[in-house]
């Protein structure tokens, strides 16, 4: 059993010097979720893609492989927006398996037996995917899967901020996500129009504003939704 609050604390803690936040999130999944390794890739709306991090060579190859081949669980997770869980590579006999023939063959050769691809997504914001793998078959348990989904949220927030990250208030955002979630998302939509920017940039601006004002993100979102606060480009410097 993984305690939710403890897990959020772990995911939110500032990583050691020289370790990126996405890298640390993958490492935590290996430490806590019974997976062998993990990696994160970004896939932008424009189709640009890149590997952000991987915990080991096999995880790195899983990421590279999918970009080379253009198919695989990670690609499906990004395009469908839903988790893709392959509990046993050797037992895969469905349509997806047929489409991933090349991926499955190579993944199997390098020792991958199970792979779980979770989309990094916040509503209309699609960032990429986190891929966790195991060297033995087996599904993520009822407690491991929710924890993995929370890790995906953390990774999504971390990558959103990575562009120019003076903020580092991940924990706050993650903790407040459910409680004030609907207002954070509504405020994101409003700020997107106020600033004439993308949804990603709108969420980033909200977080930046909350940080510079020293306020919780949910509280600022409430003010935006109640029209007590408007964001302007001047605020952003």
């Amino acid at each position: 059993m993984i305690d939710r609050d403890h897990w959020v604390q772990l995911l939110s803690a500032r990583p050691a010097e020289g370790v990126s936040r996405p890298q640390r999130i993958c490492e935590l999944c290996v430490e806590m979720l019974g997976v062998t390794g993990g990696g994160i890739s970004v896939v932008t709306a424009a189709g640009n893609r890149g590997v952000v991090c991987a915990t080991d060579d096999v995880a790195a190859q899983i990421e590279d492989l999918q970009f080379t081949l253009g198919v695989g669980p990670c690609m499906d997770a990004v395009s469908s927006g839903a988790p893709v869980m392959v509990n046993d590579l050797d037992a895969l006999e469905d349509v997806a398996g047929a489409r991933w023939t090349g991926f499955l063959k190579t993944a199997s050769e390098i020792g991958v037996r199970a792979v779980f691809a979770l989309p990094l997504r916040i509503g209309a914001i699609s960032i990429g995917a986190i891929d966790l793998y195991r060297d033995t078959p087996g599904e993520l348990s009822n407690t491991q899967l929710p924890a993995a989904l929370l890790a995906a949220d953390a990774a999504a927030l971390a990558l959103l901020a990575a562009a120019d990250d003076p903020l580092d208030q991940l924990g706050e955002g993650l903790g407040e996500w459910p409680a004030r979630g609907h207002q954070i998302h509504q405020a994101t939509g409003m700020v997107q129009v106020q600033l004439g920017v993308s949804t990603e940039a709108a969420l980033l601006s909200l977080r930046a504003r909350a940080f510079s004002a020293g306020r919780p993100l949910g509280e600022l979102a409430n003010d935006v939704v109640q029209r007590r606060v408007r964001l302007t480009l001047e605020d952003e410097g």
Binding site: A82, G189, V193
Partner: protein, 253 residues
């Protein structure tokens, strides 16, 4: 008196039949979860004579979150959301039983925060029906009344039946793989709702309207054009679609 009672009964039977036909139609087709639940909460308002209805799911992160509501009014959504910590919805999810109160004012000891908050915005009674699938409880259907009467008797059984249909609707969507099915389906449903919130924000800001009106515009565009609610919301957020807010049709629900 008798005539009007019969009329009411007949109209109610029609609503009920319409609701089940709609739900059945939806379930055999490729459907949108949020759309299905939106239909369901609106039907509950008509069927059970309650003032407000919400459907909450327990998310992957272990908290209750609103998936559909009969009104998008902020205070109502906050009341639903308050139940992450305490309230009839949380009790229904924890126990798997229907939880009711006919007098929220007297129930302030039962739910010290939720009770007074509900009374403050005008509700006096509440009924929470769990969404169950075999041993698992995934959320609850939450109904508020302004009078001192919760949903009872046959209506309560009917509400449970509707809640069961909703559960099937949420969990029935086909998944690429069979493992962790419940968790994946729930995740999908919850993600859909996030896009809708973002789209409401875009419309609310662009047209200077409330969240309720913004949602109505999304719903209207989706139904008039036979598009999935989530697809409409996504197109709005991406700036590919600008639904009309100026001329609501009279048949708008």
């Amino acid at each position: 008196m008798r005539d009007s009672h019969e009329l009411a009964t007949s109209s109610r039977t029609t609503t009920l039949a319409d609701t089940f036909v709609l739900l059945a139609d939806t379930l055999v087709d490729d459907y949108d979860v949020v759309d299905l639940l939106d239909h369901l909460v609106m039907a509950c308002v008509d069927l059970f004579g309650v003032s407000a209805v919400g459907l909450l799911l327990e998310d992957q992160r272990g908290r209750l979150t609103v998936m559909a509501a009969s009104s998008e009014e902020t205070r109502l959504l906050e009341l639903f959301q308050l139940q992450t910590n305490e309230g009839p919805c949380l009790d229904a999810v924890r126990t798997g039983e229907v939880v009711t109160s006919d007098d929220l004012e007297s129930d302030s000891t039962r739910w010290p925060r939720f009770g007074p908050a509900a009374v403050e915005i005008g509700y006096r009674s509440v009924t929470a029906v769990p969404l169950r699938l075999r041993g698992q409880r995934i959320g609850a259907l939450n109904m508020f009344g302004t009078g001192h009467s919760s949903v009872t008797g046959n209506d309560r059984r009917l509400a449970q039946a509707l809640a069961d249909v909703a559960t099937i609707g949420i969990l029935q969507r086909r998944s690429i793989h069979q493992s962790n099915l419940v968790a994946e389906q729930l995740q999908h449903a919850l993600d859909s709702r996030v896009v809708i919130e973002q789209a409401k924000g875009v419309l609310a800001e662009r047209h200077s309207v409330g969240m309720d009106e913004a949602f109505t515009a999304l719903r209207r565009h989706s139904r008039n054009n036979n598009l999935k609610l989530t697809d409409v919301a996504l197109a709005v957020v991406r700036g590919e679609l600008a639904p009309d807010l100026a001329h609501p049709r009279p048949d708008d629900a």
